[in-house]
Symmetry: C2
Subunit: 410 residues, 2 copies
């Protein structure tokens, strides 16, 4: 993979120019993307700023995020060739920081559950996950050092786990979703993919203009290990990865306790879909009313069903989420972070499914920062998920880094 | 003014067709809009559904709200002629309910504080207010029975007060803002303008698919009268209107207590601008980076200043808002509604200013439903503001109706 911090330090040392760094990415894309299909479009002549904290960083932008100089096609024929007027807020911010917006990355239609044609860079017979398929695959394949995705259920952390890259779904609305196609306004969260946790910390700190995110450190963190039994069992590879991460954390000085999440949380987990679907039926109201036949299969059926969700069920789901957020806040007075599965196992075979977000739904609903840390060693990538309290993205990344480094020393 | 419910009952009685009802609006527009300038664009051939709870209702849509069949120009030369791909979620919903989307209404640039060229229908030498200038003026002038606006500080309730029509800023996110240009994602709220509170209740209930909003009733409500001293004094006309509304409420059986808002609320009031401006700097990041010279005067200066707001000030403002929301929730255990000023006074002279949103800022930040009730009798329109707890839009409208009817009986 291409490390953002490595590229930045070579540029600062005068060993590489920003334009040269972008050319490295273009060469990697030319060599490897034909077998993966991570990109929805590639800008032939991207502006490459000479200065700024992200100068020389080529960024891939999930194709539900507006770009003023590239089509934004939502992974759907309904938006084929569609050119928005403006950059999304996060894209404008990236440009201001010196980044080169090089490519749009493939997405499930409207960030839904339907698959894309993108292949997993570690096994072309497997899915890269979704809905941020192209962003995870592009970073995992070493095509780009940074990519943007979004998560409504599990669309950042799960594909990162499948593609073997680091990723963060930050605290809700830490990064603005203005100019990002909405699926569910209470859940949609912008996330970042990169080679490692320090790359993520650097990028998130400058994007959010919060230097403390990159400067956070924890010694001897208290970690709660949760299996999320309410979401079903994980596969052996995911259980092995979680156990490896636990031992690595303990070797690095962490105290790791087994923890059962108290009741409001399993209950909230069951309600995430209600909020997601009730809002999606409204958010995609124009597409559903005017282009029902052009919607992808699962999304179309999904929205058919969502029309009937009563407001009372939505209100009850929001109350359940509110109670669970309070319980989770209390829980974080005893723990610096939680450690759990990023996905049920390695990427599933075939391209028919993007995998299951069941270990991600609760945390998106809680709005808390979640980091995927790849666990090396298996034949296929599997990651673990590090979670911190709302607003403490720096701590989530610091604990993730501690585990990442301990795993690397093994 | 054109009453939505009156049009609907004439259609249901077979005295008017939906197309005939739309023609009434076209005739009113042709006769009176040249002197007002409420419309940014008018659809020559609008679809007129024959059925649905809003069949025959011509709607004006503030020109920061996306429409698939009309340009959406944001009140700014930057978006001159811009044609979005899709309808905003609320527009798709209106069409599904049978409404005819007849016109886009003028807006301050990006719903900011800068004026439009629209004139007050009650005095062409005065502002209609802003930023939802055209929607308030079109309904106040009897051009349309229903119009959509948005409020980030005071952009629905204030222009309604100036133009003499009823309006509701519903609970935060009761109506989805998908497809509405963002100024501040924590504040932007869709609102409705209509001739009276029953029109509002009917329209909001069907739009939100919550029949209980139209069915709510209160007998002998407990009302807290608040002057919002922290926001400065109101002008004599506004004080007289508030006193008239108080007496009307008492005659109708309400108990009205004078109430001083407890401390977290004045403090939160001072922080509304911080949240608004911090988010606007991000939301309008592309416009600022690429079209600074084409921004309107106040907005440009506003965004210049907003670049320097630190994340810590934003975080502190959000905490202050959170504390105030809790205090307000407690307060509503003693009161069905609060009654206060909608605006400092009647519409100011001239078109240079859209007036001051100082009596609206707190309530937008609190996310609670607010209704403007016009108080008849003065030479120029002045309204009062009825406020209920979060999520109880039906109660806000029921108390507003009680006052509206008592004022009419006077």
């Amino acid at each position: 993979m291409l490390s953002l911090l490595d590229i930045r330090s070579r540029i600062e040392a005068g060993q590489l120019t920003p334009a040269g760094a972008i050319d490295l990415c273009r060469a990697a894309i030319a060599a490897r993307d034909p077998g993966i299909g991570a990109l929805a479009s590639l800008r032939a002549e991207a502006a490459v700023p000479e200065t700024g904290p992200l100068a020389g960083i080529a960024v891939g932008v999930k194709d539900i995020i507006d770009t003023a100089d590239m089509p934004t096609q939502m992974g759907s024929p309904i938006y084929a060739g569609w050119q928005p007027k403006a950059d999304a807020a996060v894209v404008a911010r990236l440009r201001r920081l010196g980044a080169a917006i090089l490519a749009k990355t493939t997405t499930s239609p409207f960030a839904s559950a339907d698959p894309t044609q993108t292949r997993n860079p570690h096994d072309p017979g497997r899915t890269p996950g979704g809905s941020s398929a192209g962003s995870a695959a592009a970073v995992g394949a070493g095509l780009l050092p940074l990519a943007l995705g979004t998560q409504t259920a599990g669309s950042v952390i799960r594909p990162a786990s499948f593609c073997g890259c680091a990723a963060i779904k930050p605290s809700f609305r830490l990064l603005p979703t203005v100019g990002v196609k909405t699926f569910s306004w209470a859940l949609d969260t912008l996330g970042l993919f990169a080679a490692g946790t320090q790359d993520l910390a650097y990028a998130l700190a400058v994007l959010a203009n919060r230097p403390e995110i990159a400067g956070a450190a924890v010694a001897a963190p208290r970690i709660g290990l949760v299996l999320q039994d309410f979401a079903g069992e994980a596969e052996p590879e995911a259980r092995a990865a979680l156990e490896a991460a636990r031992r690595a954390a303990e070797r690095a000085g962490a105290r790791v306790d087994d923890l059962i999440l108290p009741e409001p949380m399993p209950e909230a987990w069951t309600r995430q879909r209600v909020i997601q679907d009730y809002e999606a039926a409204q958010a995609l109201g124009w597409e559903y009313a005017t282009h029902r036949a052009a919607l992808s299969e699962q999304l179309g059926q999904h929205l058919d069903g969502a029309q009937a969700i009563p407001a009372s069920a939505y209100d009850a789901a929001r109350r359940a989420a509110h109670h669970a957020r309070r319980a989770l806040k209390d829980l974080f007075s005893d723990y610096d972070a939680l450690l759990t599965f990023s996905a049920p196992g390695p990427a599933p075979q075939g391209l028919a499914s993007t995998g299951d977000p069941r270990f991600n739904r609760l945390w998106t609903l809680m709005g808390v920062p979640c980091v995927n840390v790849p666990v090396p060693g298996g034949p296929l990538p599997v990651g673990v998920q590090v979670i911190a309290r709302f607003g403490d993205d720096g701590r989530a990344l610091a604990v993730a880094r501690l585990i990442e480094e301990a795993l690397a020393r093994q």
